[in-house]
Symmetry: C2
Subunit: 235 residues, 2 copies
DNA sequence: CTGTTAAGTTTACAGTGTAAAGTTTTTGTG
DNA sequence: CACAAAAACTTTACACTGTAAACTTAACAG
């Protein structure tokens, strides 16, 4: 149970697991306050270490941001996977697709700053880790396979890889667009305020929003089914 | 022709039209290098003025960012409007919808940093100018009206305000999602690399991308039409 | 001519990322 | 175990950032 080479050992001088402590603290700081407020110095102080100690574990700030990035993509993927396992076993493909989309938007809305860090503020892409890319690819594959399942079920059509990729891109783009437009005030200001002024600030904007999101998923799914249908008729 | 109160007059001390010069320079700096590289000091130096002179015309950096923001939304709106006027007069509603979507994505791709500044990095929203909101609302109304035109043409259905707003949100979200996913490397890494490895880095990725974008518009438009149809059958 | 005001400048300060060199601890050898 | 090498962390230093305060210059109105 006790190991000499345990990486969590501490001394006065050596922190023991500074890297993880910094990363944890960074995630915490990002979730509450956003990326702009994240400073290496503040981070170092929060874990009780000297400012430049960070450079023993991260090449520079961008390197740390990439690590945060990677964790975010892992969490997003896990949230998506969990939204599927939470479904009843007999769930249809379409239910799964909806669950995936909802979990994505839910992630964006409950962890807005982390979502920002992942997409709005991509660190220098040239030095992005393979680990992160694999997380992203994994999420995309999950979506793609689920879409294939749905479309085969309802349309009885076997999709080519290219078709499935386009379908996944389409669904992903929609859900991602919704997430980011809701994130900054665009939609509130441009749509809801004008159309349902009483709903927006007063009554039950939350449930109204959920209602609208369901309609957006309806539209997207209908479009996917229709376009598959069109391809079958006119290949 | 010559006016004593011309705001472009210059002296050694007074710049004359510092505010606009700063804004122009800021836009230039943003377009080439992104927001991270934009510093008030560099900006001041680029127009040949002392660092703190900026504060005579902008409350602080955020205030300047809001101005950049506003210009961006105006440019986007103008690009969208111009994409409509460039169409042949007999163009159908669907052609117009496609033109709007393409101009939006084109804007995002040709002015990526400005697009970032507008959406990825919204300045403090609490003190956003009415002017900018009106630009955004105007663009949204343009999209909404065009969608109404399209759906009335093809489905013969008169949309309620709420239906039109949801349709506009859906189309906007898709196009916005595509823009932002293409912007950071997500899609390249997650989709194109895997599905068309030879196309991606070699042959004609540009035209392949345009092809895919057309398919995305197909899907979205098909979904909108289908959902309007569904509402008519099952109100 | 004379206040007032707007537009710039000077000076100053706290905060940032990070480079370089020094110190302490751990670790991998003979 | 001893000892060199490497890893982890500190100290010091620098250039750069946004911005507050006080001062100076120019334009203008009475």
């Amino acid at each position: 149970m006790s190991s000499m080479t345990d990486s969590t050992q501490k001394t006065a001088y050596h922190h023991g697991n500074l890297r993880e402590a910094l990363l944890d603290s960074a995630l915490l700081a990002v979730e509450s306050g956003g990326l702009d407020k994240l400073s290496l110095r503040g981070l170092a102080k929060s874990v009780g270490v000297t400012p430049t100690a960070v450079y023993s574990h991260f090449k520079d700030k961008n390197d740390l941001l990439i690590a945060v990035h990677t964790v975010g993509f892992k969490q997003l993927r896990e949230a998506m996977e969990q939204s599927l396992t939470a479904l009843p076993k007999a769930a249809r493909g379409e239910d799964k697709v909806r669950a995936l989309g909802l979990s994505y938007m839910h992630f964006a809305q409950t962890q807005p700053h982390l979502f920002d860090a992942m997409f709005f503020r991509p660190p220098d892409l040239s030095q992005v880790t393979k680990e992160k890319i694999e997380e992203g690819v994994g999420s995309e594959r999950l979506l793609r396979d689920t879409l294939i399942e749905m479309l085969e079920e309802s349309q009885g059509a076997r999709l080519s890889d290219a078709q499935a990729a386009v379908a996944a891109f389409s669904a992903w783009a929609l859900v991602h667009g919704v997430s980011t437009l809701l994130r900054n005030g665009c939609v509130d200001a441009a749509i809801f305020c004008e159309s349902w002024p009483e709903d927006f600030s007063d009554q039950h904007p939350q449930s109204r929003q959920a209602e609208i999101i369901e309609q957006l998923l309806d539209i997207q799914i209908a479009g996917l089914k229709a376009s598959v249908q069109a391809i079958r008729k006119n290949p």
